[in-house]
Amino acid sequence: MNDFENLSISSAIEGLANKNFTSLELTEFFIKKIEKNKDLNCFITSTFDKAIEMAKISDQKIKENEARPLEGIPIGMKDLFCTNGVRTTAGSKILENFVPFYESTVSNNLWNSGAIMLGKTNMDEFAMGSANTTSFFGNVKNPLGSKVNKELVPGGSSGGSASAVSSGLCLGSTGSDTGGSIRQPASFCGLVGLKPTYGRCSRFGMIAFASSLDQAGPITKTVEDSALMLQAMVSFDKRDSTSSRQSIPDFSDFKKLSIKGKRIGIPKEYMIDGLNSDIKKIWDSGISWFKREGAEILEISLPHTKSALPTYYIIAPAEASANLARYDGIRYGFRHNADDLNDLYQKTRGFGFGKEVKRRLMIGTYVLSAGYYDAYYLKALKVRKLISQDFEDSFQKCDLILTPTTPNVAFPIGEKQTNPIEMYLNDVLTVPASLAGLPAISVPSGFNSEKLPIGLQLIGKPFDEISVLAAGAVIEESRGF
Protein backbone atom coordinates (compact mmCIF):
# COMPACT_ATOMS: atom_id res chain seq x y z
CA MET A 1 0.00 0.00 0.00
CA ASN A 2 1.09 3.54 -0.69
CA ASP A 3 2.22 5.64 2.22
CA PHE A 4 -0.26 8.47 2.32
CA GLU A 5 0.90 9.89 5.63
CA ASN A 6 2.66 12.94 4.22
CA LEU A 7 0.26 13.54 1.39
CA SER A 8 -1.28 17.00 1.02
CA ILE A 9 -4.84 17.53 -0.14
CA SER A 10 -3.65 19.08 -3.42
CA SER A 11 -1.34 16.16 -4.21
CA ALA A 12 -4.08 13.68 -3.25
CA ILE A 13 -6.47 15.37 -5.68
CA GLU A 14 -3.81 15.00 -8.37
CA GLY A 15 -3.10 11.38 -7.47
CA LEU A 16 -6.79 10.53 -7.56
CA ALA A 17 -7.27 12.29 -10.90
CA ASN A 18 -4.29 10.45 -12.39
CA LYS A 19 -5.67 7.16 -11.04
CA ASN A 20 -2.46 6.53 -9.04
CA PHE A 21 -4.70 5.36 -6.21
CA THR A 22 -8.38 5.30 -5.35
CA SER A 23 -10.30 7.12 -2.66
CA LEU A 24 -11.12 3.75 -1.13
CA GLU A 25 -7.38 2.99 -0.80
CA LEU A 26 -6.81 6.40 0.75
CA THR A 27 -9.72 6.00 3.13
CA GLU A 28 -8.74 2.49 4.21
CA PHE A 29 -5.19 3.68 4.85
CA PHE A 30 -6.41 6.41 7.21
CA ILE A 31 -8.88 4.09 8.96
CA LYS A 32 -6.03 1.69 9.78
CA LYS A 33 -3.84 4.54 10.88
CA ILE A 34 -6.53 5.96 13.17
CA GLU A 35 -6.97 2.51 14.75
CA LYS A 36 -3.22 2.23 15.32
CA ASN A 37 -3.00 5.65 16.94
CA LYS A 38 -5.88 5.52 19.38
CA ASP A 39 -3.56 6.63 22.18
CA LEU A 40 -3.47 10.14 20.67
CA ASN A 41 -7.23 10.30 21.35
CA CYS A 42 -7.89 12.48 18.30
CA PHE A 43 -11.38 11.18 17.61
CA ILE A 44 -14.44 11.06 19.86
CA THR A 45 -16.53 9.13 17.32
CA SER A 46 -15.29 7.32 14.24
CA THR A 47 -17.49 6.93 11.17
CA PHE A 48 -15.56 4.31 9.21
CA ASP A 49 -18.55 2.60 7.57
CA LYS A 50 -19.82 5.93 6.36
CA ALA A 51 -16.32 6.82 5.12
CA ILE A 52 -16.05 3.62 3.05
CA GLU A 53 -19.48 4.25 1.60
CA MET A 54 -18.57 7.85 0.70
CA ALA A 55 -15.22 6.73 -0.79
CA LYS A 56 -16.95 4.28 -3.11
CA ILE A 57 -19.24 7.03 -4.36
CA SER A 58 -16.23 9.29 -4.87
CA ASP A 59 -14.37 6.65 -6.85
CA GLN A 60 -17.39 6.27 -9.06
CA LYS A 61 -17.57 10.04 -9.64
CA ILE A 62 -13.86 10.17 -10.47
CA LYS A 63 -14.31 7.31 -12.90
CA GLU A 64 -17.15 9.13 -14.60
CA ASN A 65 -15.15 12.39 -14.74
CA GLU A 66 -17.59 14.07 -12.42
CA ALA A 67 -15.18 14.77 -9.58
CA ARG A 68 -16.16 17.62 -7.28
CA PRO A 69 -13.44 19.91 -5.81
CA LEU A 70 -12.58 17.72 -2.78
CA GLU A 71 -13.69 14.42 -4.29
CA GLY A 72 -12.52 11.46 -2.24
CA ILE A 73 -10.50 13.47 0.31
CA PRO A 74 -10.75 11.97 3.83
CA ILE A 75 -11.01 14.58 6.57
CA GLY A 76 -11.73 14.91 10.28
CA MET A 77 -14.77 16.91 11.41
CA LYS A 78 -14.51 18.79 14.70
CA ASP A 79 -17.18 17.45 17.05
CA LEU A 80 -18.64 20.94 17.24
CA PHE A 81 -20.32 20.62 13.84
CA CYS A 82 -23.67 18.85 13.92
CA THR A 83 -23.67 15.83 11.63
CA ASN A 84 -26.94 14.22 10.65
CA GLY A 85 -27.30 10.83 12.33
CA VAL A 86 -23.80 10.96 13.81
CA ARG A 87 -23.34 11.70 17.51
CA THR A 88 -22.15 15.26 18.15
CA THR A 89 -20.88 16.00 21.64
CA ALA A 90 -18.89 19.28 21.66
CA GLY A 91 -16.58 17.36 24.00
CA SER A 92 -19.18 17.48 26.78
CA LYS A 93 -20.88 14.94 29.00
CA ILE A 94 -24.05 16.98 28.64
CA LEU A 95 -24.19 16.05 24.92
CA GLU A 96 -22.73 12.57 25.33
CA ASN A 97 -25.67 10.93 23.56
CA PHE A 98 -26.83 13.73 21.30
CA VAL A 99 -27.50 12.63 17.71
CA PRO A 100 -28.45 15.57 15.47
CA PHE A 101 -31.11 15.07 12.82
CA TYR A 102 -29.72 17.88 10.69
CA GLU A 103 -26.38 18.79 9.18
CA SER A 104 -24.32 21.92 9.82
CA THR A 105 -23.91 24.09 6.74
CA VAL A 106 -20.10 23.88 6.85
CA SER A 107 -20.03 20.08 7.00
CA ASN A 108 -22.79 19.84 4.42
CA ASN A 109 -20.77 22.06 2.07
CA LEU A 110 -17.75 19.80 2.53
CA TRP A 111 -19.69 16.61 1.81
CA ASN A 112 -21.23 18.29 -1.25
CA SER A 113 -17.67 18.99 -2.41
CA GLY A 114 -16.86 15.30 -2.20
CA ALA A 115 -14.93 15.24 1.11
CA ILE A 116 -15.12 12.05 3.19
CA MET A 117 -15.80 11.96 6.92
CA LEU A 118 -13.49 9.68 8.92
CA GLY A 119 -14.93 10.77 12.24
CA LYS A 120 -15.62 13.51 14.76
CA THR A 121 -12.51 15.00 16.31
CA ASN A 122 -11.89 15.61 19.98
CA MET A 123 -11.97 19.15 21.35
CA ASP A 124 -12.05 21.16 24.55
CA GLU A 125 -15.50 21.05 26.08
CA PHE A 126 -17.69 23.56 24.18
CA ALA A 127 -14.43 24.85 22.65
CA MET A 128 -13.40 26.33 26.00
CA GLY A 129 -9.72 25.66 26.40
CA SER A 130 -6.30 26.09 24.87
CA ALA A 131 -4.74 22.68 25.49
CA ASN A 132 -7.47 20.13 24.81
CA THR A 133 -7.44 19.21 28.47
CA THR A 134 -11.08 20.06 29.20
CA SER A 135 -12.75 17.41 27.00
CA PHE A 136 -15.08 14.97 28.76
CA PHE A 137 -13.58 12.38 26.40
CA GLY A 138 -10.04 12.83 27.66
CA ASN A 139 -6.88 14.71 26.73
CA VAL A 140 -5.52 14.71 23.21
CA LYS A 141 -1.80 14.18 22.72
CA ASN A 142 0.36 16.16 20.34
CA PRO A 143 2.17 13.65 18.07
CA LEU A 144 5.26 15.90 18.09
CA GLY A 145 5.70 15.15 21.80
CA SER A 146 7.48 11.94 20.85
CA LYS A 147 10.29 14.10 19.41
CA VAL A 148 11.09 15.36 22.89
CA ASN A 149 9.95 12.33 24.90
CA LYS A 150 7.19 14.30 26.58
CA GLU A 151 3.43 14.18 26.46
CA LEU A 152 2.67 17.55 24.95
CA VAL A 153 -0.67 19.28 24.47
CA PRO A 154 -1.83 19.80 20.88
CA GLY A 155 -3.30 23.18 21.81
CA GLY A 156 -6.99 23.88 21.80
CA SER A 157 -9.77 23.96 21.41
CA SER A 158 -9.46 22.20 18.01
CA GLY A 159 -6.82 19.87 19.48
CA GLY A 160 -8.13 16.61 18.04
CA SER A 161 -8.36 18.16 14.57
CA ALA A 162 -4.79 19.46 14.71
CA SER A 163 -3.29 16.33 16.21
CA ALA A 164 -5.05 14.15 13.62
CA VAL A 165 -3.68 16.11 10.64
CA SER A 166 -0.22 16.40 12.19
CA SER A 167 0.02 12.65 12.81
CA GLY A 168 -1.24 11.84 9.32
CA LEU A 169 -4.59 10.37 10.39
CA CYS A 170 -6.46 12.46 7.80
CA LEU A 171 -5.62 14.93 5.04
CA GLY A 172 -7.24 17.94 6.64
CA SER A 173 -9.76 18.84 9.29
CA THR A 174 -12.21 21.48 10.34
CA GLY A 175 -11.78 23.69 13.35
CA SER A 176 -13.64 26.55 14.94
CA ASP A 177 -11.97 29.66 16.26
CA THR A 178 -13.48 31.90 18.93
CA GLY A 179 -10.27 33.34 20.37
CA GLY A 180 -7.56 31.29 18.69
CA SER A 181 -8.89 27.73 18.63
CA ILE A 182 -7.76 27.08 15.04
CA ARG A 183 -4.56 29.09 14.91
CA GLN A 184 -3.06 28.10 18.28
CA PRO A 185 -3.37 24.30 17.86
CA ALA A 186 -2.17 24.61 14.24
CA SER A 187 0.88 26.43 15.54
CA PHE A 188 1.51 23.82 18.29
CA CYS A 189 1.21 20.94 15.80
CA GLY A 190 3.21 22.45 12.92
CA LEU A 191 0.22 23.08 10.65
CA VAL A 192 -1.58 25.80 8.73
CA GLY A 193 -4.69 27.08 10.52
CA LEU A 194 -6.97 29.68 8.97
CA LYS A 195 -9.72 31.65 10.66
CA PRO A 196 -11.63 33.44 7.92
CA THR A 197 -13.42 36.76 8.31
CA TYR A 198 -16.40 36.62 10.65
CA GLY A 199 -19.42 35.82 8.47
CA ARG A 200 -17.58 33.86 5.77
CA CYS A 201 -18.58 30.43 7.12
CA SER A 202 -22.12 29.81 8.27
CA ARG A 203 -22.61 29.13 11.96
CA PHE A 204 -25.74 27.08 11.30
CA GLY A 205 -25.39 23.72 13.01
CA MET A 206 -22.17 24.74 14.72
CA ILE A 207 -22.64 24.32 18.46
CA ALA A 208 -22.51 27.88 19.77
CA PHE A 209 -19.93 29.14 22.25
CA ALA A 210 -19.69 32.93 21.71
CA SER A 211 -21.78 33.78 18.67
CA SER A 212 -20.25 37.18 17.89
CA LEU A 213 -16.81 35.55 17.65
CA ASP A 214 -17.28 31.90 16.54
CA GLN A 215 -15.98 31.21 13.06
CA ALA A 216 -15.16 27.93 11.30
CA GLY A 217 -11.99 27.32 9.32
CA PRO A 218 -9.62 24.63 8.04
CA ILE A 219 -6.55 23.00 9.59
CA THR A 220 -4.21 21.64 6.91
CA LYS A 221 -0.60 20.84 6.09
CA THR A 222 -0.15 23.52 3.43
CA VAL A 223 -1.44 26.96 2.51
CA GLU A 224 -2.76 25.61 -0.79
CA ASP A 225 -4.77 22.97 1.09
CA SER A 226 -6.10 25.70 3.35
CA ALA A 227 -7.43 27.59 0.31
CA LEU A 228 -8.96 24.41 -1.11
CA MET A 229 -10.80 23.53 2.10
CA LEU A 230 -11.87 27.10 2.76
CA GLN A 231 -13.40 27.29 -0.71
CA ALA A 232 -15.54 24.27 0.08
CA MET A 233 -16.57 25.50 3.55
CA VAL A 234 -17.76 29.06 2.83
CA SER A 235 -21.22 30.05 1.63
CA PHE A 236 -23.94 32.57 2.23
CA ASP A 237 -26.56 30.91 4.40
CA LYS A 238 -29.92 32.42 5.19
CA ARG A 239 -30.11 30.22 8.28
CA ASP A 240 -27.32 32.25 9.90
CA SER A 241 -28.32 35.88 10.48
CA THR A 242 -24.66 37.00 10.40
CA SER A 243 -23.70 35.05 7.31
CA SER A 244 -22.07 37.44 4.85
CA ARG A 245 -23.38 38.23 1.37
CA GLN A 246 -19.95 39.43 0.25
CA SER A 247 -18.94 37.81 -3.02
CA ILE A 248 -16.81 34.71 -2.61
CA PRO A 249 -13.57 34.83 -4.59
CA ASP A 250 -11.61 31.91 -5.99
CA PHE A 251 -9.25 31.53 -3.04
CA SER A 252 -6.65 29.70 -5.16
CA ASP A 253 -6.04 33.09 -6.81
CA PHE A 254 -3.66 33.69 -3.91
CA LYS A 255 -1.04 32.00 -6.09
CA LYS A 256 -1.26 34.83 -8.62
CA LEU A 257 -0.92 37.54 -6.00
CA SER A 258 2.54 39.02 -5.47
CA ILE A 259 3.58 40.30 -2.07
CA LYS A 260 5.96 42.74 -3.75
CA GLY A 261 5.10 46.28 -2.74
CA LYS A 262 2.63 45.15 -0.09
CA ARG A 263 2.96 46.89 3.24
CA ILE A 264 3.40 44.54 6.19
CA GLY A 265 2.77 46.05 9.62
CA ILE A 266 4.69 44.85 12.67
CA PRO A 267 2.74 45.81 15.80
CA LYS A 268 5.11 46.81 18.57
CA GLU A 269 2.56 45.87 21.25
CA TYR A 270 2.84 42.17 20.28
CA MET A 271 6.40 42.21 21.63
CA ILE A 272 4.96 41.13 24.97
CA ASP A 273 6.75 40.21 28.18
CA GLY A 274 7.19 36.49 28.21
CA LEU A 275 7.47 36.10 24.44
CA ASN A 276 9.72 33.08 23.95
CA SER A 277 13.13 34.10 22.55
CA ASP A 278 13.10 31.44 19.82
CA ILE A 279 9.73 32.75 18.69
CA LYS A 280 11.08 36.30 18.64
CA LYS A 281 13.90 35.10 16.39
CA ILE A 282 11.49 33.44 13.96
CA TRP A 283 9.41 36.61 13.92
CA ASP A 284 12.55 38.52 12.87
CA SER A 285 13.23 35.90 10.19
CA GLY A 286 9.68 36.34 8.94
CA ILE A 287 10.26 40.08 8.61
CA SER A 288 13.42 39.45 6.57
CA TRP A 289 11.62 36.98 4.27
CA PHE A 290 8.99 39.55 3.41
CA LYS A 291 11.66 42.22 2.85
CA ARG A 292 13.43 39.87 0.48
CA GLU A 293 10.20 39.38 -1.45
CA GLY A 294 9.94 43.13 -1.92
CA ALA A 295 7.34 43.90 0.73
CA GLU A 296 7.58 47.10 2.69
CA ILE A 297 7.93 46.55 6.43
CA LEU A 298 6.66 49.18 8.81
CA GLU A 299 6.22 49.38 12.56
CA ILE A 300 2.63 49.96 13.55
CA SER A 301 0.84 50.48 16.83
CA LEU A 302 -2.28 48.70 18.05
CA PRO A 303 -2.47 50.57 21.35
CA HIS A 304 -5.31 48.57 22.94
CA THR A 305 -3.68 45.16 22.43
CA LYS A 306 -3.13 44.56 26.13
CA SER A 307 -6.83 45.06 26.81
CA ALA A 308 -7.88 42.42 24.29
CA LEU A 309 -7.58 39.34 26.49
CA PRO A 310 -9.50 40.78 29.48
CA THR A 311 -12.13 42.07 27.03
CA TYR A 312 -12.42 38.62 25.51
CA TYR A 313 -12.78 37.01 28.95
CA ILE A 314 -15.80 39.18 29.62
CA ILE A 315 -17.51 38.99 26.22
CA ALA A 316 -16.97 35.29 25.44
CA PRO A 317 -18.21 33.99 28.84
CA ALA A 318 -21.14 36.41 28.73
CA GLU A 319 -22.26 35.10 25.35
CA ALA A 320 -21.57 31.52 26.46
CA SER A 321 -23.74 31.92 29.54
CA ALA A 322 -26.64 32.83 27.27
CA ASN A 323 -25.90 30.21 24.60
CA LEU A 324 -25.43 27.36 27.04
CA ALA A 325 -28.68 28.11 28.84
CA ARG A 326 -30.29 25.69 26.36
CA TYR A 327 -28.73 22.68 28.14
CA ASP A 328 -31.51 22.10 30.59
CA GLY A 329 -31.77 18.31 30.64
CA ILE A 330 -35.23 18.35 29.09
CA ARG A 331 -35.10 18.44 25.31
CA TYR A 332 -31.81 16.68 24.64
CA GLY A 333 -28.62 15.58 26.29
CA PHE A 334 -27.81 14.40 29.77
CA ARG A 335 -30.42 14.63 32.51
CA HIS A 336 -29.82 14.23 36.23
CA ASN A 337 -32.99 13.07 37.91
CA ALA A 338 -34.53 15.28 40.53
CA ASP A 339 -37.87 15.84 42.24
CA ASP A 340 -38.50 19.37 41.15
CA LEU A 341 -37.74 21.30 38.02
CA ASN A 342 -35.20 23.75 39.43
CA ASP A 343 -33.32 20.94 41.08
CA LEU A 344 -33.33 19.08 37.77
CA TYR A 345 -31.78 22.07 35.97
CA GLN A 346 -29.17 22.65 38.63
CA LYS A 347 -28.12 19.01 39.02
CA THR A 348 -28.12 18.38 35.26
CA ARG A 349 -25.86 21.37 34.67
CA GLY A 350 -23.79 20.79 37.82
CA PHE A 351 -22.97 17.21 36.79
CA GLY A 352 -23.18 17.65 33.01
CA PHE A 353 -20.68 20.49 32.58
CA GLY A 354 -16.97 20.25 33.32
CA LYS A 355 -14.97 22.61 35.52
CA GLU A 356 -13.80 25.09 32.88
CA VAL A 357 -17.27 25.43 31.38
CA LYS A 358 -18.82 26.02 34.81
CA ARG A 359 -16.14 28.59 35.61
CA ARG A 360 -16.90 30.52 32.42
CA LEU A 361 -20.66 30.27 32.85
CA MET A 362 -20.24 31.71 36.34
CA ILE A 363 -18.11 34.60 35.02
CA GLY A 364 -20.56 35.21 32.20
CA THR A 365 -23.56 35.18 34.50
CA TYR A 366 -21.81 37.50 36.93
CA VAL A 367 -20.78 40.12 34.36
CA LEU A 368 -24.32 40.19 32.95
CA SER A 369 -26.05 40.33 36.33
CA ALA A 370 -27.83 43.38 37.67
CA GLY A 371 -25.38 45.90 39.06
CA TYR A 372 -22.34 44.59 37.17
CA TYR A 373 -23.55 44.75 33.56
CA ASP A 374 -22.31 48.30 32.95
CA ALA A 375 -19.05 47.90 34.82
CA TYR A 376 -18.01 44.71 33.03
CA TYR A 377 -20.04 43.75 29.96
CA LEU A 378 -20.82 47.21 28.58
CA LYS A 379 -17.28 48.34 29.34
CA ALA A 380 -15.89 45.35 27.44
CA LEU A 381 -18.08 46.10 24.43
CA LYS A 382 -16.68 49.63 24.33
CA VAL A 383 -13.10 48.43 24.59
CA ARG A 384 -13.86 45.95 21.80
CA LYS A 385 -14.74 48.93 19.62
CA LEU A 386 -11.39 50.54 20.43
CA ILE A 387 -9.54 47.32 19.58
CA SER A 388 -11.38 47.06 16.29
CA GLN A 389 -10.68 50.74 15.59
CA ASP A 390 -6.94 50.14 16.16
CA PHE A 391 -6.97 47.60 13.33
CA GLU A 392 -9.01 49.87 11.06
CA ASP A 393 -6.52 52.70 11.62
CA SER A 394 -3.57 50.40 10.98
CA PHE A 395 -5.04 49.07 7.79
CA GLN A 396 -4.96 52.61 6.44
CA LYS A 397 -1.18 52.28 6.53
CA CYS A 398 -0.58 48.60 5.85
CA ASP A 399 -2.09 45.64 3.98
CA LEU A 400 -1.24 42.84 6.37
CA ILE A 401 -0.02 42.41 9.93
CA LEU A 402 2.70 39.91 10.86
CA THR A 403 2.96 38.60 14.44
CA PRO A 404 3.79 35.37 16.26
CA THR A 405 0.74 33.10 16.76
CA THR A 406 1.50 32.13 20.35
CA PRO A 407 3.85 33.40 23.07
CA ASN A 408 5.21 29.86 23.58
CA VAL A 409 5.51 26.46 21.93
CA ALA A 410 3.49 23.34 22.88
CA PHE A 411 3.82 22.57 26.61
CA PRO A 412 3.52 19.31 28.58
CA ILE A 413 0.06 17.98 29.45
CA GLY A 414 -0.68 18.96 33.04
CA GLU A 415 1.09 22.32 32.91
CA LYS A 416 -0.83 25.61 33.34
CA GLN A 417 -3.67 23.79 35.10
CA THR A 418 -3.58 25.51 38.48
CA ASN A 419 -4.21 29.13 37.49
CA PRO A 420 -6.84 29.64 34.76
CA ILE A 421 -5.29 32.95 33.67
CA GLU A 422 -2.02 31.19 32.83
CA MET A 423 -3.94 29.02 30.37
CA TYR A 424 -5.84 32.02 29.01
CA LEU A 425 -2.55 33.78 28.19
CA ASN A 426 -1.97 31.25 25.38
CA ASP A 427 -4.44 33.24 23.31
CA VAL A 428 -3.05 36.71 23.96
CA LEU A 429 -1.80 37.12 20.36
CA THR A 430 -4.78 35.53 18.60
CA VAL A 431 -7.68 37.11 20.51
CA PRO A 432 -7.37 40.68 19.12
CA ALA A 433 -8.07 39.57 15.50
CA SER A 434 -11.02 37.53 16.78
CA LEU A 435 -12.55 40.52 18.53
CA ALA A 436 -12.17 42.52 15.31
CA GLY A 437 -13.55 39.65 13.18
CA LEU A 438 -10.51 39.71 10.87
CA PRO A 439 -9.13 36.86 8.77
CA ALA A 440 -5.92 35.41 10.21
CA ILE A 441 -3.71 32.46 9.42
CA SER A 442 -1.01 30.64 11.34
CA VAL A 443 1.77 29.18 9.21
CA PRO A 444 4.62 26.96 10.45
CA SER A 445 7.70 29.15 10.26
CA GLY A 446 10.49 27.50 12.22
CA PHE A 447 11.43 25.48 15.28
CA ASN A 448 12.72 26.08 18.78
CA SER A 449 15.92 24.49 20.07
CA GLU A 450 13.99 21.28 20.83
CA LYS A 451 12.65 21.17 17.25
CA LEU A 452 9.12 22.02 18.29
CA PRO A 453 7.22 24.05 15.70
CA ILE A 454 6.68 27.81 15.84
CA GLY A 455 3.91 29.50 13.88
CA LEU A 456 3.69 33.05 12.61
CA GLN A 457 0.33 34.76 12.27
CA LEU A 458 -0.78 36.98 9.41
CA ILE A 459 -3.83 39.16 9.96
CA GLY A 460 -5.64 40.70 6.99
CA LYS A 461 -8.31 43.24 6.16
CA PRO A 462 -11.93 42.07 6.35
CA PHE A 463 -12.70 39.54 3.56
CA ASP A 464 -9.14 39.69 2.24
CA GLU A 465 -8.33 36.02 2.86
CA ILE A 466 -6.51 35.94 -0.49
CA SER A 467 -3.76 38.32 0.69
CA VAL A 468 -3.51 36.39 3.95
CA LEU A 469 -3.04 33.14 2.00
CA ALA A 470 -0.56 34.77 -0.42
CA ALA A 471 1.56 36.02 2.47
CA GLY A 472 1.30 32.59 4.12
CA ALA A 473 2.70 31.08 0.93
CA VAL A 474 5.68 33.44 1.14
CA ILE A 475 6.50 32.01 4.56
CA GLU A 476 6.13 28.48 3.23
CA GLU A 477 8.55 29.19 0.39
CA SER A 478 11.07 31.08 2.51
CA ARG A 479 11.34 29.05 5.71
CA GLY A 480 13.64 26.39 4.25
CA PHE A 481 11.84 23.18 5.19
Binding site: Q346, R359, M362, Y376, V383
Partner: protein, 95 residues
Protein backbone atom coordinates in the same frame (compact mmCIF):
# COMPACT_ATOMS: atom_id res chain seq x y z
CA UNK B 1 -14.69 44.47 44.45
CA UNK B 2 -14.49 40.95 45.69
CA UNK B 3 -16.71 37.93 45.45
CA UNK B 4 -17.75 36.14 48.63
CA UNK B 5 -19.74 32.97 49.43
CA UNK B 6 -23.09 34.59 49.07
CA UNK B 7 -22.24 36.09 45.65
CA UNK B 8 -20.99 32.74 44.35
CA UNK B 9 -24.14 31.06 45.65
CA UNK B 10 -26.32 33.71 44.03
CA UNK B 11 -24.52 33.52 40.66
CA UNK B 12 -24.61 29.71 40.68
CA UNK B 13 -28.32 29.88 41.30
CA UNK B 14 -28.81 32.36 38.46
CA UNK B 15 -26.79 30.10 36.16
CA UNK B 16 -28.74 27.04 37.39
CA UNK B 17 -25.57 25.18 38.30
CA UNK B 18 -25.40 23.11 41.48
CA UNK B 19 -22.04 23.48 43.19
CA UNK B 20 -20.78 21.71 46.28
CA UNK B 21 -18.89 23.38 49.11
CA UNK B 22 -15.51 22.44 47.76
CA UNK B 23 -16.34 23.90 44.34
CA UNK B 24 -17.66 27.00 46.05
CA UNK B 25 -14.35 27.62 47.79
CA UNK B 26 -12.36 27.09 44.59
CA UNK B 27 -14.70 29.29 42.58
CA UNK B 28 -14.46 32.17 45.05
CA UNK B 29 -10.69 32.22 44.63
CA UNK B 30 -10.77 31.72 40.86
CA UNK B 31 -13.48 34.25 40.12
CA UNK B 32 -11.79 36.86 42.30
CA UNK B 33 -8.56 36.19 40.47
CA UNK B 34 -10.14 36.48 37.02
CA UNK B 35 -12.34 39.48 37.83
CA UNK B 36 -9.38 41.21 39.47
CA UNK B 37 -7.48 40.71 36.25
CA UNK B 38 -10.23 41.97 33.93
CA UNK B 39 -10.61 44.98 36.23
CA UNK B 40 -7.66 46.54 34.41
CA UNK B 41 -10.15 47.52 31.70
CA UNK B 42 -11.37 50.24 34.07
CA UNK B 43 -8.22 52.18 33.22
CA UNK B 44 -9.16 52.35 29.53
CA UNK B 45 -10.85 55.61 28.61
CA UNK B 46 -14.09 54.74 26.85
CA UNK B 47 -15.83 58.13 27.13
CA UNK B 48 -18.01 58.63 24.05
CA UNK B 49 -17.14 55.18 22.67
CA UNK B 50 -20.08 53.25 21.25
CA UNK B 51 -20.37 49.64 22.48
CA UNK B 52 -19.62 47.10 19.75
CA UNK B 53 -22.02 44.17 19.86
CA UNK B 54 -20.90 42.59 16.62
CA UNK B 55 -18.37 43.10 13.86
CA UNK B 56 -21.05 42.19 11.34
CA UNK B 57 -22.06 45.36 9.52
CA UNK B 58 -24.22 44.12 6.68
CA UNK B 59 -27.90 44.86 7.02
CA UNK B 60 -29.96 41.91 8.09
CA UNK B 61 -32.47 40.72 5.54
CA UNK B 62 -36.19 40.63 6.10
CA UNK B 63 -38.00 37.44 5.38
CA UNK B 64 -41.60 36.41 5.25
CA UNK B 65 -43.01 35.63 8.69
CA UNK B 66 -43.85 32.09 7.81
CA UNK B 67 -43.31 29.01 9.94
CA UNK B 68 -41.31 26.25 8.32
CA UNK B 69 -40.83 22.86 9.85
CA UNK B 70 -38.54 20.34 8.30
CA UNK B 71 -38.61 17.88 11.15
CA UNK B 72 -41.20 15.64 12.66
CA UNK B 73 -41.94 15.36 16.36
CA UNK B 74 -40.37 11.94 16.75
CA UNK B 75 -37.00 13.04 15.38
CA UNK B 76 -36.94 15.79 17.97
CA UNK B 77 -38.19 13.66 20.86
CA UNK B 78 -35.70 10.87 20.11
CA UNK B 79 -32.98 13.00 21.71
CA UNK B 80 -34.94 13.80 24.85
CA UNK B 81 -34.06 12.03 28.10
CA UNK B 82 -37.74 11.32 28.72
CA UNK B 83 -40.82 11.72 26.55
CA UNK B 84 -44.37 10.43 26.57
CA UNK B 85 -47.17 10.59 23.99
CA UNK B 86 -45.32 13.16 21.90
CA UNK B 87 -44.38 15.41 24.83
CA UNK B 88 -41.25 16.12 26.85
CA UNK B 89 -41.58 14.86 30.40
CA UNK B 90 -40.54 17.12 33.29
CA UNK B 91 -41.03 16.79 37.05
CA UNK B 92 -44.39 18.00 38.28
CA UNK B 93 -44.50 21.82 38.28
CA UNK B 94 -48.08 22.52 39.42
CA UNK B 95 -49.70 21.32 42.57
Amino acid sequence: MSIDNSTVKKVAKLARIEINEEEETTLIAELNNILGWVDELKQVNTDSVEPMLSVFNESMQMREDKAESNFDNNQILDNSPESNSGFFVVPKVVE
